[in-house]
Symmetry: C2
Subunit: 404 residues, 2 copies
């Protein structure tokens, strides 16, 4: 008699953004005349840059001719894209990362949820609290997180590292030693960052403890301040303790195009075992590559035109971030983030819970945000707004919130 | 101290097609003057059909304009594609499958390797032998297969169902009761099929035993004979025992475009647990949807123009299959398949092992095929050729083989 994976049944409720989607759909159905502004899910709204559109059309035309048609992609990604990534994202920043240490994928969500697979179920994970829910949820599904306590909204076998106003949203080294440490900077959802020196402390700690850092740098394109690292490989010793995850979703607007990559240095080991061939084996066995046309679009991100156009796109969103940050601050909200990240993190007013504020904002201002508690227990009483809307919608949303 | 998933270390050698790729690359480097013809990996060679190219260009243009730009796709796929699939692949064939039972993905390889995740590690799997290696390998990685015996080249906890000339390449009901039964028809690699009555026996057996059939119908477009089912849902009772996997790779040449889907009927259960919400949860948590432009390309597969053009494309490949089948038969080979599938399965001559014949064919005829033993122990002494080459290359490859 067939049996299900019981770990799935331990997951409380549904995936955060599915729940939000359902709530918004229900409100919208009941109030068809209201214009809802969505600053909730971190989805982009600006069209793809012209250089990327040109690359896509060109690649589509190649697929129309037997002489230039492309079937199955190489397991780990096309050389042209892996080289462009290694050069532009790493070597140009002084990071020692080679093209054959890049694994091209269809996005950082898949990578960040799949990466745990190559590790034993015995490993203990540590996560920032609050953080992107996929790290914990994927470990729940695998059976690595123990039991759920509905009172504290925590898993018994997960090490939570609170990131709150008290520690300037930067996690402290945990008291209990973890095996796998998920770090996400610029952070989703708080929009906070840590300096290169602060990150170096984590790298040294991981090397000392024999732990692996899974470093999610999906939002690095939004860093505006000096001394905030764009990659963990800017730190000395990271090649022996860190895996880095990257996405094209936010720097190039690829949320609906799907492209990302994972970096695993050749010398990275867990015990005696090199991790590079393990992840390569997973790719070879369970994945069939990102579409050729999408990989060509990714290549265009690194062209001179692409870079110039995307710099403008990032600036557009960061102007939205400024509008949100300054607008809410002037209205008396306690806000952070928004300087090195497209996320603004605010304290809910009047001691409202995160979900109470979600409902209040949806109902009274018809603005959708994301409840901080959806990202972990320390997110309770906080709320996330994203800078990924259009400028006009962003201005209007903030005006509505000010008027409350 | 971090530890790896030891199950990965149990996997013998590398993924079949990676090994072939390396062997061919080495031969090619040593013999740059030889023209190698690849009838090995099941990759298509014909360009995308004009209707699909038009749809791709149109969708790319939509992504260039904020008013028509598409970000994150709906978790389970766009409604336009799910409806087209439900209508054309199921309802038009009299199968009772609704659009919301379709889960759109980036291909059947991912789905067929990921689907085991929603089941307990305690389940016992049964596979056809030989078969597409991903079913077993993904279960090895999960830790469901016991220990590897290098002598018999089998896993201790896998039920192998031999498909050989003796049983006309159709598996018999296993003596030991499995929980998960992987069936692939038209079969990869043997190219064999079973009739609707034969499949009904499996459906009845699974319902009786409380087992689930994972039915891989990736090659259904190549079925030419009556009474061979295109979907398991043509059988009565399949909604309570079967998951179906489909691909756009072979019927529409999407090996480099990446699109597939999984069907899970709403009433399908394992014990008391419905499987539909479990797979939906996996999609929502660990996947971010197929690209918008690719889903529009998928929709075009079902347009009147798309259907007509793809019928021609399938006919082109099936003509190749005929060339291979008849050419090898006239040369004295024992061959099967090729009538309802793009694969031709042949007995190696002179008692050669599959890999001996692979090397022999590569060296003497510069033709690449796939060793049958790579698909399971009962594949030893067999060899797979695919009809996915160009017509000219296919004819030349067969002439070279005849001349040996």
């Amino acid at each position: 008699m067939v049996k299900v994976n019981d770990n799935y049944l331990k997951l409380p409720g549904s995936y955060l953004f599915s729940t939000i989607g359902k709530k918004v759909a229900a409100f919208s159905a009941a109030n068809p005349d209201k214009k809802i502004i969505r600053l909730g899910i971190g989805d982009v709204t600006q069209p793809l840059a012209p250089a990327i559109i040109t690359a896509l059309h060109g690649a589509v035309d190649e697929m129309a001719d037997a002489a230039t048609f492309h079937g199955y992609a190489p397991d780990l990604g096309y050389e042209f894209l892996r080289s462009a990534i290694a050069q532009n994202d790493y070597q140009d920043r002084g990071c020692d990362i080679a093209a054959d240490e890049i694994f091209v994928s269809d996005g950082a969500k898949c990578d960040s949820s799949n990466i745990q697979e190559i590790f034993s179920l015995d490993n203990k994970i540590a996560v920032c609290d609050p953080v992107y829910p996929v790290y914990v949820d994927s470990n729940v599904m695998a059976g690595r997180t123990g039991t759920w306590d509905p009172k504290t909204e925590t898993w018994s076998d997960v090490i939570y590292m609170p990131c709150t106003a008290e520690n300037n949203f930067a996690p402290e080294l945990p008291k209990e030693t973890p095996d796998l440490i998920y770090l996400c900077f610029p952070n989703n959802p708080t929009g906070s960052t840590i300096t290169k020196d602060q990150l170096q402390v984590w790298v040294d700690y991981a090397n000392k403890m024999g732990a692996i850092i899974i470093y999610d740098a999906a939002y690095e394109a939004y860093i505006s301040e000096e001394n905030v690292p764009h990659s963990i490989y800017e730190c000395e010793g990271a090649r022996t303790c860190a895996i880095e995850l990257r996405s094209f979703s936010k720097n190039a607007g690829f949320t609906g195009v799907r492209l990302g990559f994972t970096v695993i240095p050749k010398e990275l080991k867990a015990g005696e075992t090199n991790l590079h061939p393990l992840w390569a084996r997973r790719h070879g066995t369970k994945y069939n590559g990102a579409p050729y046309i999408v990989q060509r679009a990714g290549e265009a991100v690194y062209s001179p035109e692409g870079k110039a156009q995307l710099k403008e796109q990032v600036a557009y969103y960061m102007n939205n971030a400024k509008v949100i940050y300054e607008g809410l601050k002037s209205a008396g909200y306690t806000v952070s983030g928004g300087v090195n990240a497209p996320y603004i993190w605010l304290k809910t007013p009047y001691q409202m819970t995160s979900w109470e504020f979600f409902d209040y904002l949806l109902e009274k201002a018809n603005v959708v945000g994301t409840p901080g508690s959806g990202f972990g227990p320390s997110g309770e009483g906080y709320f996330r707004l994203t800078a990924f809307g259009s400028y006009d919608n962003t201005v209007e949303a903030i005006e509505r919130m000010k008027a409350l």
